[in-house]
């Protein structure tokens, strides 16, 4: 412990930064990461404060107030059941962000675990798994998610499962590739020579060294998951009314496209903003974690 502290002190004195500190510094300097983080924080803050900011209930109907255009009372207007669109959009953010995060966590955990094992163990397991991955990757993501939804039935939980499961093949391929390169490093060979158990080598020596591409991919994948789940809900296969999910709100709103433009404008705008924020953040992260970039 003392040795580590001494080394850190010396590194600080000589101006050498730890990778984590270097990444954070690059992130702080990256305009795209800053913009992305700003958008995301604003959305998260609004989402958390939704019950405080909005005096309306997102699912309570009041037919006398149906189809009101945006005004001081209803900033984004009201829908066909008289519900406040702004409130539903804010509550919808909770659902969409949760779907994105949970789907990626599910797909990422299963995919990364399989990729780690396949990459490190190799052999028949790796061969068979990669052929299955090849086959699954040949079916476009949205199609795979739709087929899974057809099996599971329409619901919010099933959207998360479908999107997460359709993410698995890409995670397996990404992580396996990273493991194949990481396991050739001297420190892994040294750990193996010292008799370190296989599980410990994978979790303690390989996993921390492949985390960077995994974080970048996962960040960008949250954006994709939000888009796919919104598309599924738009097609009537995801969240069901009266759940305030952005995709299903757009699906309901399109029926009144001639008379109530606000019903299709604001939920879509929120999808774009959140996906844009995540993409900007992902781009910034990729630049910050890219070892090929020179120290700025």
């Amino acid at each position: 412990m003392e040795a580590i502290r001494r080394r850190e002190k010396r590194a600080k004195k000589e101006g050498i930064e730890s990778p984590a500190r270097l990444t954070l510094r690059r992130l702080r300097k990256s305009p795209s990461a800053r913009a992305g983080l700003g958008i995301l924080l604003a959305i998260i803050l609004l989402t958390l404060l939704a019950p405080v900011i909005s005096p309306y209930n997102p699912t309570k109907m009041s037919p006398t107030e149906a189809f009101q255009a945006p005004s001081g009372r209803h900033l984004m207007g009201t829908d066909d059941f008289g519900r406040d669109v702004a409130t539903r959009v804010l509550f919808g953010a909770r659902i969409s962000l949760a779907i994105g995060l949970i789907a990626v966590a599910l797909g990422g955990t299963i995919g990364a675990t399989l990729g780690l094992i396949a990459g490190y163990v190799g052999g028949k397991f790796d061969f068979i798994l990669m052929r299955i991955v090849d086959i699954m990757l040949a079916v476009p993501g949205i199609l795979l998610a739709m087929v899974i939804m057809a099996i599971l039935g329409p619901s919010l939980t099933n959207v998360m499962i479908a999107v997460g499961l359709s993410d698995i093949p890409m995670y397996v391929r990404l992580v396996r590739g990273c493991v194949l390169s990481a396991k050739e490093n001297n420190y892994v060979e040294a750990a193996r020579a010292l008799g370190c158990p296989r599980r410990k080598i994978i979790l303690k020596h390989i996993l921390p060294n492949i985390v960077a591409p995994l974080i970048v991919y996962s960040t960008l994948e949250v954006a994709n998951a939000i888009l796919t789940s919104a598309a599924l809900s738009f097609l009537g296969m995801g969240a069901q009314p009266p759940t305030p999910e952005w995709g299903s709100m757009l699906s309901e709103g399109r029926r009144y496209i001639r008379s109530a433009w606000w019903l299709i404008t604001f939920p879509g705008l929120m999808i774009v903003l959140s996906v844009l924020g995540i993409n900007l953040m992902g781009d910034g992260l990729r630049d910050a974690l890219d070892p090929k970039l020179k120290r700025r």
């Binding site: 757009l250 496209i257 993409n279």
Partner: protein
């Protein structure tokens, strides 16, 4: 070259067989008894049992799989439960509209993507570059179905330039193609920009400039030609994505096509139709990728020797 071709063809064949098996297995997991669905709610148990036997649904899985493969080799994808027609005929009727839409979407993606990418690389580091990349990033972030709704609202509802729904006519193809291709345009623009920047820093561009060639000639004849090689792979992959993406766009614009056919089939639990559409779409995806891979060897001879 022959070895490379055989290897790629073998790989594609394996994936195709894998997809057939995967689709067959997934369809076995779908909830509901296909025979009961075919007969409707008012059917008796006896009639369901008879139909199950007629369709061979009581046979062991491996026997059903063998029969499925045998039928596939004859082009028989089964019979749609909801439309009472052979699935292959339904797909053949709807496929041209989807392929037309996917090609139009790809055209939009290439024209818009290359234009933005070249402009961005030409004015690298200026506000033009930032503006083009912001458009590209928005393209990547915008849901195609929302863009479709906005286009309908602007050009059909407000300006009344094109009818809201339908398939016929070039006017009715432009808006769905733009909605479908905009996301791919964003990806292509980002790729063209980075590829162009790399090519523009190479020696042969310097010597072309030193020879006194016009900048537009350097840019389009020398740089773009070389920068497009890596872009072709992505464009090919995008075609497959556009085929799949048409599922949503066809629903937004009320167009005919296999995407809409699939959504309808899922909603009414028409298993043979879902199976057929997924199979044909995935097969098209694999074949497009194979063609892209093979065309890549013609464009970049180094690939053959790797």
């Amino acid at each position: 070259m022959t070895r490379y071709l055989l290897k790629r063809l073998g790989g594609a064949l394996f994936v195709l067989i894998g997809i057939i098996t995967l689709v067959f297995l997934i369809m076995q997991m779908l909830p509901g008894d296909p025979a009961a669905i075919m007969l409707g709610f008012s059917c008796t148990e006896e009639r369901v049992a008879v139909l199950r036997q007629e369709l061979g649904l009581d046979d062991p899985l491996i026997v059903q799989y063998g029969r499925y493969l045998r039928n596939l080799t004859r082009g028989d994808l089964g019979r749609s439960m909801s439309k009472s027609m052979p699935v292959s005929r339904l797909i053949a009727q709807q496929m041209p509209a989807t392929v037309k839409l996917a090609f139009a979407g790809l055209g939009c993606a290439i024209v818009l993507g290359v234009f933005l990418g070249v402009l961005s690389a030409k004015y690298h580091g200026t506000w033009v570059d930032t503006g083009c990349m912001m458009i590209a990033l928005t393209g990547v972030s915008i849901p195609s179905f929302w863009l479709g709704l906005l286009l309908i609202f602007t050009f059909s509802v407000t300006l009344n330039w094109v009818p809201i729904v339908g398939t016929a006519g070039i006017g009715r193809l432009i808006l769905p193609a733009l909605a479908l291709g905009f996301r791919s345009a964003g990806l292509v623009a980002r790729l063209v920009r980075s590829s162009m920047l790399e090519v523009l820093s190479q020696d042969f561009i310097q010597s072309a400039r030193a020879k006194g060639l016009r900048e537009s000639r350097v840019l389009y004849r020398h740089a773009l030609k070389n920068a497009l090689i890596p872009v072709i792979t992505v464009v090919g992959l995008q075609f497959g994505r556009l085929l799949a993406g048409s599922v949503v766009i066809e629903s937004v614009f009320g167009r005919e096509g296999i995407g809409r056919l699939l959504v309808d089939a899922i909603n009414v639990h028409d298993i043979p139709l879902v199976q057929g559409v997924v199979l044909v779409t995935a097969m098209s995806y694999v074949l497009v990728n194979l063609i892209v891979d093979l065309s890549y060897t013609l464009l970049d001879p180094r690939v053959r020797y790797r």
